[in-house]
C-alpha cells in the first residue's frame, strides 16, 4: 500500500489560521504604518493578543499557554507578520525565545513563577544573548555571573535586545567560568526590576520600528541562586537549542512579510495603468510576480517542514537554518521587487511596500545572520 504525502493542514490548524488572519486584518494591520512611523510599542495590540493566547502558543495549557503545535505557531506568525512585522517580532521573542527555553529547561517552580504569567501574556520577556562583542560569535560572552553566598551577581552589557525596554523578564546568558569556553556559559532568569539593572541605549532602526531594541546594563545586579536556568555551564547549549526553534519563527515572519509584498504588488499592478493598460499585462511585471509567488511557496513549505520536525521531537537544526535562510532572503527579494513594481510610489510612505522592504532586512540578520545559517547548513552537509 502506497501512502500519499499530505500537504494538508488539520482542522485545528485551519481554524487557528483563519482566526489569526481575521484578527491580524482587523486589529493589527490598521496600526502598522502608525507604530512604524512613531516607533511606538503596540501595547494595546499585545493585550488583545495575550487574551487569545498568541503570546504563549506552544506552552501547554497547564502552564498558561494554548498548547498548540509549532505548525499552528508558524501559520499565526505568518498572518501577524503579514499585517505588521514589528508586532510579529515582539510575538516571536516571547513565544520562541522566552517561553520555549523556560518550558524545556525550567524547574517546576520556575515554570509556575515565570512561565505561567509569560505564556498568558501578563508579563513580557526578552532574550539577552547578543553583546557588543558577541554577535555571531555568541560564545564570547563578557557578561559575568558570580555566585556570592546564595546569590548570583551579574555584571555586563547586552545589546540589540528585542523587547528590552518593555520586558519584565529576561532570559540572560552570562559567563560563569571564563576558562571553560562554551561550557562556561550559563542561562539565568532575571526580573527586570532588580536593583543593578538599567536600560541603556534604545536603538533607532531601519525597520521593525514598532518593536523596541535596547541595551541592558547589569551592574552588581543580584538575583537568587535558584534563578539559574538549566544546569550550570549549559547556557550555550540552551541558547543554540532555543534559536533552532526561534529560527522557525523568523522564517514564518519572513514569509508573512513576503506575502504582504506580493499581495500589494498584485493589487497595484492591476490598478496602475501605463501605456494604456494595467502594468500587470506586461510580462516584465508578470515574471516578477511569478518569481515572488514561487519563492514564497518554497519558503512556506520549508518552514512548515522544520516546524513539523520540531513537533515530532526530531532534531531540526539544519532544517530550521534552511528555512530561516531561504525565507529571509525570499522576503528581501520579494520586497525589493514589490518596491520596483510600484516604481516611484514604492519609494514613498504613501504605499506600504517601502515599510515591508525596510522590515524584511532584519530577518537576514537577527537570530543568526544568513552567513551563520549557511555555516550551520554546511556543517551538516559536510558531516
Amino acid at each position: 500500500m502506497g501512502s500519499v504525502m499530505r500537504f494538508e493542514l488539520t482542522e485545528d490548524q485551519k481554524m487557528i489560521r483563519q482566526m489569526v488572519r481575521e484578527f491580524a486584518e482587523k486589529e493589527v494591520a490598521p496600526l502598522a504604518a502608525q507604530i512604524d512611523a512613531e516607533a511606538r510599542f503596540p501595547e494595546e495590540t499585545l493585550r488583545k493578543m495575550a487574551k487569545l493566547n498568541l503570546l504563549g502558543m506552544m506552552v501547554p495549557e497547564k502552564y498558561g499557554g494554548a498548547g498548540v503545535d509549532t505548525v499552528s505557531y508558524v501559520l499565526a506568525m505568518e498572518e501577524i507578520a503579514k499585517a505588521c512585522a514589528s508586532t510579529s517580532t515582539i510575538m516571536t521573542v516571547n513565544n520562541s525565545l522566552v517561553c520555549d527555553p523556560l518550558l524545556r529547561y525550567g524547574t517546576e517552580a520556575q515554570k509556575q513563577k515565570y512561565l505561567v504569567p509569560l505564556a498568558k501574556g501578563e508579563l513580557l520577556g526578552c532574550f539577552g544573548l547578543s553583546e557588543p562583542n558577541a554577535g555571531s560569535d555568541a560564545a564570547n560572552q563578557q557578561t559575568t555571573a558570580t555566585l556570592k553566598g546564595d546569590k548570583w551577581v551579574l555584571n555586563g552589557r547586552k545589546n540589540f535586545t528585542t523587547n528590552g525596554a518593555h520586558a519584565d523578564i529576561c532570559i540572560l546568558f552570562a559567563s560563569t567560568d571564563k576558562t571553560k569556553g562554551h561550557h562556561g556559559i550559563s542561562a539565568f532568569i532575571v526580573e527586570l526590576d532588580t536593583p543593578g539593572f538599567s536600560i541603556g541605549k534604545i536603538e533607532k532602526k531601519l525597520g521593525i520600528c514598532g518593536s523596541d531594541t535596547a541595551s541592558l546594563v547589569f551592574e552588581d545586579c543580584t538575583i537568587p541562586e535558584e534563578n539559574l536556568l538549566g544546569e550550570l555551564g549549559s547556557g550555550f547549549k540552551i541558547a543554540m537549542g532555543t534559536l533552532d526553534g526561534g529560527r522557525i519563527g523568523i522564517a514564518a515572519q519572513a514569509v508573512g512579510i513576503a506575502r504582504a509584498a506580493l499581495e500589494q504588488s498584485v493589487k497595484y499592478s492591476k490598478e496602475r495603468v501605463q501605456f494604456g493598460q494595467p502594468i500587470s499585462s506586461f510580462q516584465a511585471i508578470q515574471w516578477m510576480l511569478a518569481d515572488m509567488g514561487t519563492e514564497i511557496e518554497c519558503a512556506h513549505l520549508l518552514t512548515l517542514k522544520a516546524a513539523t520536525l520540531k513537533d515530532k521531537g526530531v532534531r531540526h537544526t539544519k532544517e530550521s537554518a534552511m528555512a530561516k535562510l531561504f525565507a529571509s532572503e525570499t522576503a528581501m527579494r520579494a520586497t525589493t521587487k514589490a518596491v520596483q513594481i510600484h516604481g516611484g510610489y514604492g519609494y514613498i510612505k504613501d504605499y506600504p511596500v517601502e515599510r515591508f522592504f525596510r522590515d524584511a532586512k532584519i530577518t537576514e540578520i537577527y537570530e543568526g545572520t544568513s552567513e551563520i545559517q549557511r555555516l550551520v547548513i554546511a556543517t551538516y552537509l559536510l558531516k
Binding site: M15, E22, L52, A66, V68, S72
Partner: protein, 288 residues
Amino acid sequence: MAQCGDDPTDRPCDRGQWTTDHGPTMNIIVCVKQVPDTATKVRIGKDGRHIDPEGVKFIVNTYDDFAVEEAIRLKERFGGEVTVISMGPERVKEALRMCLAMGADKAIQLWDPAFEDSDPYTTALILSKAIQQLPYDLIFCGKQAIDRDTTSVPSYLAEMLRLPQATVVVKLEVDPVAKKFIAYRDIEGAKEVLEGPLPAVISTQWKLNEPRYPTLPNIMKAKKKELKELNAGALGLDPTMVGEKGSRVRVLGMELPPPRSKGKILKGDPKEVARELVRLLREEAKVI
C-alpha cells in the same frame, strides 16, 4: 417539547418547553448561515443560477457573529447552553466549528440533498423543524445573510414557531426570571423599544455587541464538542415540502452588475459647470 403541526403555517403551537423554571438558566439557539467572504471574487456557475463555489472562501455570515456573541454572553451571565444550527452541505461544518470555538456548546448541521435550492421560506421551515426538537428560551438569527440579503428567514421562523419577534436589534435586555425581553431598534430618526415575552426570535444588527475572536484553547476544544447531523427524515420533513420543490421563490438567473461606465468630467467656468452639473443630475441621472 414543543409540538407543531406538519404544516407550520396552519395552526398555532405552544411556545417551547420552558427550561428556566429551575432558575435563570437559558437554552439559546442561534441560526447561522455560511456565506462567501465579501473579499471573495464571486463568479456565476455554468447553469447561470448559482454562484460557482470553486475557490470561494466561506465564512460565518457577518450578522450571525453578533447573534452568536449575544447568545454566549447571555449564557455566561445566566448559565445554560448555546446550540448553533446551520442548514447547508458538508462545508457548513467549518462555520459551525468556528461558532463552537467562540463558545457555543453544541452544533447541528441540517442537510439533505432534498434541501438543495431552498428559498428563505423552506430554509425557515427546515430550521423550525430542528428547533422544535430542542428546548429553547431564545432564538437568535443575524438580521440578514450577506450573500442574498433577503432578511426574511428570522420573520418566517418566528411565524412558523408562533413566537414574538424583534428584528434588526441593536440592544437587548433579557430577564430570564420574568421571562421577557426588551429590544431596541434603530428606526429613522428615533429608537424603537419593544418588550415581549420569551421565548422569542431576535435578529441581530451590527451595533449589538463586538463579537469575540475564538481563543486558541477554545479552538482546540471545539472539535470535542457535539456536532450532530440531521436530514429530512430525522426532521420529519417530506422532501417535496423543502428545497426547490417547496420553495415559494425560484432563482431564474444571476447576473454580475454591469461594469461601471466611464465618468463625465465637466470643465470650464465654475458657475456654468455647477449649472450643467445640476442639469445632468436632474435630467440624466434623475437623482435630484
